[in-house]
């Protein structure tokens, strides 16, 4: 019995259709049953992405699910909350822990409140923000939300909607921190938060009792901006999400649009994109390594990492014309073909990097201080990483195989041999070494591709005005920090109806509280370095 029939028999009231993915639509009241069935009976234990939607008449949520056995085979669950005035849905955060933060984001952006979610504060926006920005009827009048020149106190109270035995819903409030706790702000201006991230940390001496992440300091509303931009125009914003995975992010969105247009991409382009992705991954992991060393007080190692990353940046500079914001992938190919010297530059870089990796391992990985600070600290179990969908090197360090390059091969990844770097310890040291090992894995991939770039076009001509056929599309790539997905809902216009970027960083922040409890302040910094979140990717 195939999956579709199985689901149909278990959920007779659901509408099932085969779009890009198998899509199950359920009514609001059947959501819990459908979610529980998918989670417990069919083993869909990964909630890849939770997307709020405004279909014009009704608001709703789209869930992208997969099982940890086959993380690349995705099933879509959709539901609607009919009421626009006071929309409410049941939470799924008891089934997939990652839903908690995502539902808070949906509440802030669409106003849908989730019953039984323990924390219904707005994520990314202030509690007193007027309107719900991603709704189609949002009033963007600056008078409604004037620029605040004074800082608001961060409230210690959080609301939640609790379902009573008789089915009614009651609003309750509880305290995050009591006023007897010693609370320290790590961020938003703090040297170790890598951007404007704000952790409120409750301390007992040096030990951490609780961490409450407070997000949204650089929320720019990129998803909303995309709704008013054409597809080629949209691209320039993706480089500014996770700026350290600029190539991969753009690869994902280009792939999503190209697949929707059913555009045939030349092999040469696929090779070039794959090479660039891997170089970006090395650059990003080097930066992560450097910053982690710096956070732990090893400033010299930081400079060494930056020195090596510079080599990749100058390759980008030469080929793409940009170093960080590379602007290279465009719909149909790449902006300009690689230069004749590109292969030589890359081939010079590979042995250099291998040599430097040895040095990096000698100066830092083997160091007794560093090792003792990382081993056994910030342990993340495999269950937790799946439940919170911590993908990428951080998840793989806990044994969660989530590499989209393996599970949904794209670009030229089906033509190369490489190992998904997996570890089982799940501590800070495992996450740290997973990154260094991924650098050498990436070097191997590049080595296999660099001499075999096929001849051909580097750009396919597209129509002057690109209109995506009506439908919903989602494409995935493996960015440096995990699986990055782009969801586009098109109504056949030249601008998308709704765009959602699956943040690779949000799960990383979501686990901080759990894995750093009872560790020390210094460990919180090391754990943060090993998780390697990038704030613009979380805040979008």
């Amino acid at each position: 019995m195939d999956l579709q029939e199985k689901i149909a028999s278990l959920l007779p009231s659901a509408t099932i259709e085969q779009a890009q993915y198998l899509t199950i639509s359920v009514a609001k009241n059947d959501l819990r049953k459908a979610a529980e069935t998918l989670r417990h009976q069919l083993g869909f234990d990964i909630l890849w992405s939770l997307t709020g939607m405004d279909w014009g008449t009704a608001l709703g949520v789209v869930y992208h699910l997969a099982s940890s056995a086959k993380p690349g085979e995705i099933v879509v669950l959709k539901t609607q909350a009919e009421d626009r005035e006071n929309p409410m849905l049941h939470t799924v955060c008891d089934l997939w822990a990652t839903a908690e933060l995502n539902e808070r984001e949906v509440y802030a952006m669409f106003g849908i409140r989730f019953i039984n979610n323990p924390d219904m504060r707005k994520l990314l926006l202030n509690e007193n923000w007027v309107g719900f920005p991603l709704r189609k009827d949002y009033n963007a009048d600056p008078e409604l939300n004037p620029l605040n020149l004074h800082s608001d106190e961060v409230s210690d109270l959080r609301p939640k909607l609790v379902e009573q035995a008789d089915g009614t819903v009651k609003e309750e409030w509880d305290e995050i921190f009591t006023n007897k706790e010693y609370i320290v702000n790590i961020g938003p201006q703090h040297p170790a938060t890598h951007g404007v991230l704000h952790f409120r940390v409750s301390l007992d001496g040096e030990a951490i009792k609780k961490v409450d992440p407070h997000l949204g300091y650089i929320h720019r509303g990129i998803e909303r901006m995309c709704e008013s931009l054409t597809y080629p125009q949209m691209l320039h914003l993706t480089d500014r999400l996770d700026y350290l995975s600029a190539h991969m992010n753009r690869h994902a969105i280009c792939m999503c649009v190209e697949n929707a247009l059913q555009l045939e991409i030349p092999e040469r382009v696929k090779y070039i994109r794959t090479l660039m992705d891997e170089l970006t991954r090395i650059a990003s992991h080097l930066l992560a390594w450097s910053c982690m060393c710096m956070d732990m007080g090893g400033l010299t190692a930081f400079i060494y990492g930056m020195r090596d990353r510079e080599k990749i940046l100058s390759i980008f500079d030469d080929t793409c014309g940009g170093r960080l914001i590379t602007n290279y992938n465009i719909i149909g190919g790449v902006m300009a073909d690689i230069k004749p010297g590109f292969q030589k530059q890359v081939k010079e870089f590979i042995p250099y990097m291998r040599k430097m990796l040895k040095e990096h391992n000698a100066i830092y990985t083997g160091n007794v201080i560093a090792k003792n600070r990382m081993t056994g600290i910030g342990h993340m179990s495999r269950e937790l990483s799946i439940n919170q969908v911590v993908s990428g090197p951080s998840g793989r360090a806990s044994g969660f195989s989530s590499d989209m390059r393996k599970h949904r091969p794209y670009g030229a990844y089906d033509k190369v041999k490489f190992n998904e770097i997996m570890r089982t310890e799940g501590d800070t040291f495992a996450r740290y070494s997973a990154r260094l090992e991924e650098i050498s894995a990436s070097l191997d991939i590049i080595e296999q591709l660099i001499d075999n770039i096929p001849e051909g076009q580097s750009l396919v001509k597209t129509k002057a005005v690109i209109r995506l056929p009506e439908g919903e599309y989602m494409e995935w790539v493996e960015a440096a920090r995990g699986a990055f997905g782009v969801y586009i809902c098109s109504k056949g216009e030249k601008t998308p109806y709704r765009v959602k970027f699956r943040s690779t960083g949000m799960p990383l922040v979501a686990v901080v509280d759990e894995i750093s409890r009872d560790e020390k302040i210094a460990d919180l910094i090391a754990i943060g370095g090993s998780l390697d979140y990038v704030v613009p990717d979380i805040d979008r």
Partner: protein, 359 residues
């Protein structure tokens, strides 16, 4: 030709005594010694900051300061001027008296220790018969300043930093004391001038060979920790506590902490050089008279500074290689590794001295 500073001092002394009543001569001498020490303190601090920035840059394959003056040599002069001109920002809700006293406590403690160092032959301002004891006692006052700074700042980061510093200083004082004790046992004196004179033929690190060398290494590690510099910079730990105990300080008050940090590095290296490496004594190897004769031509203050700067370079090398320890690792290192070793080392030294196995 005699390049010794002492000759110059004697000339000045004779000149003053010949022309002035004894009281005024002594008064002027005291005053000028004080001024010279203060000036030396400030100049050394500026020099050390420059050296640190340059050496750090070389370790990090960078160039370092190169804008102000040739090779950036006036960089720290400019920085000092800036520091002097900077506004001291008043902070609300601090304990004003303690807050403004703290930097002075820190700088006074390091100044008093600095004054006791024998810089060259006959150049030593304070020479007690309990010199080693005096240095130990005075240098541990600076921790009071750090605790006061952290406590009075009304800032949570400062508070955590100060508490860390307290735990750290109290622990590492022990190793510092025990390692110096090993040499006191060997020499039988606590007076710094006598200590130096006893090393005229052979430095203590060679006289006491194995235990002296162990004591030397322990002293360097523990002393490095006492200066609150990486990898022991937990009290300020910039990636955890922003700036630790001196987060709230600005202008010259911050400057005092900054100055004291660098001078403490000099002081620790200076004590190590005096106690283990013969202070201002030249390198003498018994039996090689020709070599010893040549070595004597190098003035004593150059010997002293050369040894001190060599030790400072070691300290910078360590600082710019290792990541910061965590508080529990820091205490482990002291109580589980350095302390037992120091105690064992004292025992070995005692046996050595009793049996006369030293040189």
């Amino acid at each position: 030709m005699n390049l010794e500073l002492r000759t110059l001092m004697q000339l000045i002394d004779e000149g003053l005594r010949a022309n002035l009543p004894k009281f005024w001569a002594v008064a002027i001498e005291c005053l000028s010694v004080g001024l010279a020490l203060l000036a030396g303190y400030a100049v050394l601090a500026m020099l050390l900051i420059y050296v640190e920035r340059k050496v750090c840059a070389w370790f990090q394959v960078r160039i370092g300061p190169n804008r102000v003056g040739p090779f950036g040599i006036f960089q720290t002069v400019a920085d000092t001027l800036k520091m002097l001109l900077k506004e001291v920002i008043p902070i609300n809700h601090v304990d004003r008296f303690l807050f403004y006293t703290a930097p002075f406590v820190v700088i006074a403690a390091s100044m008093l220790t600095f004054a006791a160092l024998p810089f060259a032959k006959g150049i030593q301002a304070i020479d007690f018969n309990i010199g080693v004891f005096y240095i130990m006692a005075i240098s541990s006052i600076s921790i009071l300043g750090i605790l006061l700074a952290g406590w009075s700042s009304n800032n949570k980061f400062s508070m955590i930093g100060a508490m860390r510093s307290g735990a750290q200083m109290i622990s590492y004082e022990l190793s510092v004391g025990l390692s110096l004790l090993a040499i006191v046992m060997l020499s039988g004196t606590m007076q710094l001038s006598t200590l130096v004179e006893q090393q005229a033929d052979l430095w203590f690190i060679f006289q006491g060979h194995v235990p002296a060398f162990i004591a030397f290494v322990i002293y360097l590690i523990a002393g490095h920790a006492e200066t609150n510099r990486g990898p022991f910079d937990l009290p300020e730990a910039e990636s955890e506590l922003t700036a630790g105990f001196h987060t709230e300080y600005s202008g010259i008050h911050f400057g005092f902490f900054y100055l004291a940090e660098y001078l403490n590095m000099f002081i620790i290296a200076g004590i190590a050089a005096t106690v283990f490496l013969g202070g201002w004594q030249p390198l003498h190897i018994p039996g090689l008279d020709g070599f010893n004769y040549v070595m004597d031509f190098i003035p004593s203050f150059i010997w002293f500074l050369a040894k001190v700067f060599f030790l400072i370079f070691l300290s910078l090398w360590v600082r710019w290689t290792f990541p910061r320890l965590r508080i529990d690792q820091l205490l482990h290192l002291e109580w589980k590794y350095l302390m037992p070793l120091s105690l064992l080392n004292i025992l070995i030294m005692a046996v050595l001295v009793v049996m006369g196995w030293h040189f």
